[in-house]
Amino acid sequence: MRQRLAIMTVIALIQASAFADGAAVQFRIPSGELNVTLFASPRPIAAGVIELSLLVQDKNGTELALGTDASMVLRGPSGSTVSASVIRRPAGLYEASVAFDRPGKWEVTVKLERNGEQYAIGGNIDVAPRPSKASSYAGYFAFPPIAVVLFVVRETLLHRRSKG
């Protein structure tokens, strides 16, 4: 039985790092003939530089809406406005790197122009506070105290065994 606990500890170590990431969908909004999806990474969205990807499709969401010009304006919780520089990628996506300087609800306005028609689509992105260094590396700070506690338990067990 004792070995079971040991093996589970090892498996717990494997599992502890069980995560992976990709871009997350922030919103998907239809507007007239177009369907706009905004992706963001890394996850979770926290204050700092975030990569935004914009996908513009037809209204059914099945085909790319080619020949569209896109721009993006973001309004922060303090009311400050940021114009994102949008780059068109070969895959049919539009990308922008945006510095979210403070946490809160950011309003994103996507402006599109296609075949002479203009569309403005708005959505929100919830930006979490930038994680502090202490929280980012909490595991490393927690490791020594946990090890010390385990050591104390070990010594107690040994002491009890030697008395018993």
Binding site: M1, R2, R4, A6, I14, S53, F141
Partner: protein, 729 residues
């Protein structure tokens, strides 16, 4: 590529820490399996190895492949990921019967000393029995599956990476426990007979089927995130959900049904004998063989080759010549000059990593001793090193001078100064060693050597005797005296009485000299080297030597002050004092006098005084006994500092590696340094009392000091750094 797939995949990246962890577990398992394959070949065939490693590969596939990235827009991808984590990976891992291989694969001290008391505790045994009871495991598994598939919780996991990890943890753990009684993990007893696992599996299959059917046949989308997600490859949300249900239903059921069928057939083929009631097996401990690096294939013969050391020294000498040449003749912009880069970034970084991974490899390949050996063919040394200088005091003084000069004159930023330092070093070696016999320079003078001697106390390898009984009958003592074909140890370390790595240059002269080939490169017990009170050949009792204690403490505090010197805050503070005093040299001198001598002396005096009072021992016992315990903490700071330079430089070459892992690595190293120091302090305090309360009281001041140094190391790691000697944007 589909633009949605492109949007998902472009920011996707592999987490190397997960890969590293999986590889580490595989290495531990393989190490244990190699032993067991010889001892219990009928139980641990190659198949076990294959399935376990495949299980780890499946975890890697589930977590570190695009499957996870697609899971946010495609339910069926998410379902495949869960299937891998719930059904395939745990089943394969447990089929590898991992208990014994993983335990045997761990270093013996971890298994015996660290885990031993826990593994033997009755409370934990009872808890272990309870959590793998089939009733508990079945309920836990079913509950995890049902609860996490409720839209409220599934959505929670989809929208929060943290909850997503919790979800994965629940699935994986519940599955490990669920499959445990099915596989009958060995060595352990079955609580329920094998046939009872058939209804156990079928009942779980029914739960799975119910959920799958709900997903497959529903006419509305369960999870709103997928309803609004952009469509990948034109698959509608409802089609996606139906496909996910199918994946859960068919492969999910097959995974349950095949083991149920196998167990059912086996139950029908043999008469029921009830649950196994055999007494727990007592595994005969196997005496660990003496592992010797010199007996490993390829590396062993290479290291033992007579010309190996000379070749390594010649390579280092060539590098030293290049550095010196470039230092004198090349650009005086440090990052563009070999003298500004090789010694201060690469050599220091690789030297500390070598100490951590192997041992004192720098002294093994020391470039300074090769010209010395050549010079001794022309000039025979006539004198013995003066008795009054046969200690580490001179080296300690030189070390303080070096650390001060490093900050005061910034040789890392002045290639010509670095070149002069190298030339000066060669001159000093030649002068000392053509006048004095033996390795006087290495043992009593060389500050670089002292750095390596002290820190090799925590290295995993040592040069030692393979079989002590052979030495008992040896009359020639070639290892220290040498013979016609090979000189003996110049540092006067007699192998049978050698203790740890202190003063050992890893020159392998003793290996070459021993006529019985009884000297090897063996595993070292690092903690023992720090806490032992036995006398060692050529070094005496480390725990009684003031000079060694001083040397160690200079290196420990030197690690912190040297690293702090490159932080922005300390530099600003120095500039303020510069403006006040009018001389940067005075500021540096004051800083080093305070940080390397006065403050450490005061702190050590307070700790020593407290220990004297509580343990009723001498100043010497108190201070010299506890000083070596700080080597791991000091070394971890040097390692964090030097590896920071090395890895930051590496990242400047390969930015794709990213840099977030560097502080993580530094913190991990510092954590380990602190813990080993605390453990060693506890062991030293245990010399003075057997009562835990007294041991705690005796070690307490040293624990506080270690904690303070650790806190300062954390502060240093998180400060903005001046990356000396590097061209950084």
């Amino acid at each position: 590529m589909d633009p949605v797939a492109s949007a998902i995949l472009e920011p996707w990246s592999i987490h190397w820490d997960t890969i590293f962890l999986l590889v580490a577990v595989a290495v531990v398992y393989i190490r244990g399996w190699v032993h067991l394959h010889t001892e219990l070949s009928h139980r641990y065939g190659r198949g076990k190895l294959c399935v376990f490693v495949s299980g780890l590969a499946v975890i890697g596939l589930a977590l570190e492949s695009p499957i996870d990235a697609f899971g946010s827009v495609l339910l069926q991808a998410h379902m495949i990921q869960h299937l891998l984590l719930i059904a395939i990976a745990p089943l394969l891992l447990l089929l590898g019967q991992p208990v014994l291989p993983l335990l045997r694969g761990l270093p013996r001290w971890i298994f015996k000393d660290a885990l031993g008391p826990f593994l033997g505790a009755h409370e934990l045994k009872r808890a272990g029995r309870a959590i793998v009871h089939p009733v508990f495991t079945w309920i836990g598994f079913s509950a995890a599956i049902i609860v996490w598939h409720l839209p409220r919780f599934y959505e929670l996991a989809l929208n929060s990476p943290a909850w997503h990890q919790v979800e994965h943890a629940c699935f994986f753990w519940a599955a490990i426990l669920f499959w445990w009684p099915v596989i009958g993990v060995w060595p352990g007893e079955r609580v329920w007979p094998e046939w009872a696992m058939v209804p156990y599996l079928l009942a779980a299959g029914m739960v799975n089927m119910g959920l799958s059917a709900a997903l497959s046949f529903s006419d509305h989308v369960f999870y709103p995130t997928y309803a609004t997600a952009p469509r990948l490859w034109g698959i509608s949300a409802l089609e996606d959900q139906a496909a996910a249900g199918g994946i859960m239903w068919v492969p999910g059921s097959i995974v349950m049904l095949i083991p149920a069928a196998i167990l059912g057939v086996r139950a029908l083929q043999k008469p029921y004998a009830g649950p196994a009631r055999t007494a727990p097996r007592v595994l005969t401990p196997v005496r660990p063989g003496v592992w010797d690096l010199l007996r490993t294939p390829v590396i062993g013969p290479v290291l033992q080759h007579r010309r190996f050391r000379q070749t390594a020294q010649m390579a280092m000498l060539a590098l030293a010549a290049m550095v010196t040449w470039d230092g004198f003749r090349g650009s005086q912009i440090a990052p563009l000059n070999l003298a500004g880069v090789l010694p201060w970034i690469h050599w220091r970084g690789f030297a500390v990593i070598a100490l951590l991974m192997a041992g004192n490899l720098f002294c093994m390949a020391c470039p300074f001793t090769l010209p010395r050996d050549l010079a001794r063919r022309l000039v025979t040394p006539r004198y013995r090193w003066p008795i009054w200088l046969r200690s580490k005091w001179l080296a300690a003084g030189l070390l303080v001078t070096y650390l001060w000069a490093y900050e005061a004159f910034a040789p890392w930023d002045r290639p010509r100064a670095t070149a002069w330092m190298i030339v000066g070093y060669f001159a000093a070696v030649l002068t000392v060693d053509t006048l004095f016999k033996g390795a006087s320079f290495c043992k009593y003078v060389c500050p670089i050597g002292q750095f390596h001697f002290v820190h090799s106390l925590v290295s995993p390898l040592r040069i030692g005797v393979r079989e002590p009984s052979i030495c008992r009958t040896c009359a020639t003592h070639d290892c220290i005296r040498g013979n016609a074909g090979q000189r003996g140890c110049e540092l006067k370390l007699f192998q049978p009485k050698k203790l740890g790595n202190f003063d050992c240059t890893f020159c392998l002269d003793c290996v070459q000299a021993c006529p019985e080939s009884n000297v090897g490169i063996l595993r070292a017990d690092q903690t023992k080297s720090l806490v032992k009170t036995d006398p060692g050949s050529g070094i005496g009792r480390l725990s009684q030597r003031w000079d060694v204690a001083a040397l160690i403490l200079i290196l420990v505090f030197g690690a912190f002050i040297n690293a702090a010197g490159m932080t922005e805050r300390v530099m600003m503070w120095m500039h303020r004092w510069h403006a006040y005093l009018g001389s940067m040299l005075a500021v540096v001198t004051l800083m080093y006098a305070a940080g390397l001598l006065i403050i450490p002396a005061a702190l050590i005096a307070v700790c020593g005084w407290s220990t004297r009072r509580t343990a009723h021992i001498s100043w010497r016992d108190a201070i010299c006994g506890f000083a070596p315990t700080f080597v791991p903490l000091g070394f971890s700071m040097w390692l964090a500092h030097f590896s920071n330079h090395l890895f930051t430089w590496s990242n400047s070459l390969a930015p794709a590696l990213g840099s977030n892992w560097i502080p993580s690595l530094e913190l991990f190293v510092l954590d380990l340094g602190l813990l080993v120091t605390l453990y060693a302090s506890w062991r030293v305090a245990g010399r003075f009392s057997e009562i835990p309360r007294t041991v705690f009281t005796v070690s307490f001041p040293w624990t506080v000091l270690a904690g303070g140094l650790y806190a300062s190391s954390i502060w240093i790691v998180f400060q903005p750094m001046q990356m000396r000697g590097m061209l950084m944007r």
